[in-house]
Symmetry: D2
Subunit: 141 residues, 4 copies
């Protein structure tokens, strides 16, 4: 019932701050990396989504910082999609450090938006077709 | 019972993304601007805090994106401290666009940390003294 | 013969790195702050420029890092326009720390671009009119 | 006589701006990615360098923006070291888009610095040993 994607990201010097940790605002970029990787595995690039006339801005985000991430760490991002997208699409994240310790969990809620009318338009049918075809084992219809 | 600080930030081109909005990850920086301004008004710069041997990393953050912010907008950030800091300090934020519309709300929870031992150390007494002296009208002791 | 604008920017925690200095890539944002402030003083917001159908991407940038900038520093940015814009517009920058020391110098070259055709279009006449009217003392015609 | 490293970076949404291109200030991060990859291939991680008590801040940077980079592009970064490091170390960069077109060239000059005394200290002998041992074919001694 759950789709999960795994990818990695290496911490850039630019992403650290003078505490010597990753600046808390930069986890949003790691979530983006995880989310885009998950969508690619689902069979659709987010770039394509925009080219087909739909943007997916954020409605909300929450984050829990458990342990710091450090410069040059190769972090593992696990991105979960736990329910069928409808008006919105929810991604959950877990980030692990190179020792396999869970250092961050987060959730983002995105909406499908028609950028011309600036109105929510729901998940497009072609996107749902892809999900339904490729992932019957992941979601209940 | 509530302390509130108001400051402004102008949206940089760097902070927009190709949607034409402020990238969602950049609100964390606006929260930082609000938080630091609030602490300065409370009588302590965060820089001083670190110079006195205490760092304040984030424990958690939540954000609700209500309307997009645009390039060159002069945003107003209202930062609230609703309870006395103890082991942790909680800041709430409201961000308004130039039309006075509320576009974003958020909350961050920070902990007082001894960076040498990497252990929570609670709000230092000199910090509590400043708060108690300057803000009797804001907090119940 | 020279137009100069002065503005300030306070260093954000997000902009530092684990060296305890401002990350070198973030000076480009300070240049942007200076450049936009200079254009505003010249009588045109960059936002308006885009609304009138012209974008100004960068052609080149150079930077010399003289001394580090630190967290919470209130930096002074001096932005110079030394010659009349034509196909391109050149901005020079000097950044000073709170002690008045010159810590960074830079130059950016921007081009006037028609974003539909993706072709250089030169400085628009209405922009030149503004410059010529407001700044006869700054530039030779 | 020349050492060259090749690596890739995928453009994040966070790195674009409302022009729909990568924001010019973000190329510095791509240079960092290239530089760190080059040092790793040379046999030393930059992280290790700092752990051994040497930091490498930037002295200067120059960039030429030839064509824009776009969201989701898998960019190729070629990083060149053309001369033996002494007091400073120079890295050159070429960035190619997925069509193989050269879109950006840059150069950064870094200095070896003792962060305690904040004085240039030159390339450490252990670093030169690694370079001399591993790369006789690349540099003249």
């Amino acid at each position: 019932m759950i789709f999960v994607n795994e990818t990695t990201v290496r911490v850039r010097y630019a992403e650290t701050d003078q505490m010597g940790f990753v600046y808390y605002g930069n986890y949003a970029q790691y979530y983006e990396v995880g989310r885009v990787s998950a969508m690619r595995e689902l069979g659709i690039s987010y770039k394509e989504m925009e080219e087909k006339g739909i943007i997916m801005p954020l409605a909300s985000m929450s984050t829990k910082f458990i342990k710091p991430a450090h410069y040059d760490d190769l972090l593992t991002i696990k991105t979960y999609v736990r329910e069928m997208p409808k008006v919105r699409m929810i991604f959950d994240y877990e980030i692990y450090n190179p020792n396999g310790e869970l250092i961050n969990v987060g959730e983002t809620v995105l909406v499908f938006l028609d950028p011309i009318r600036m109105k929510p338009c729901g998940a497009p049918s072609w996107f749902m077709d892809i999900i339904n075809e490729k992932l019957p084992e992941h979601f209940e219809k």
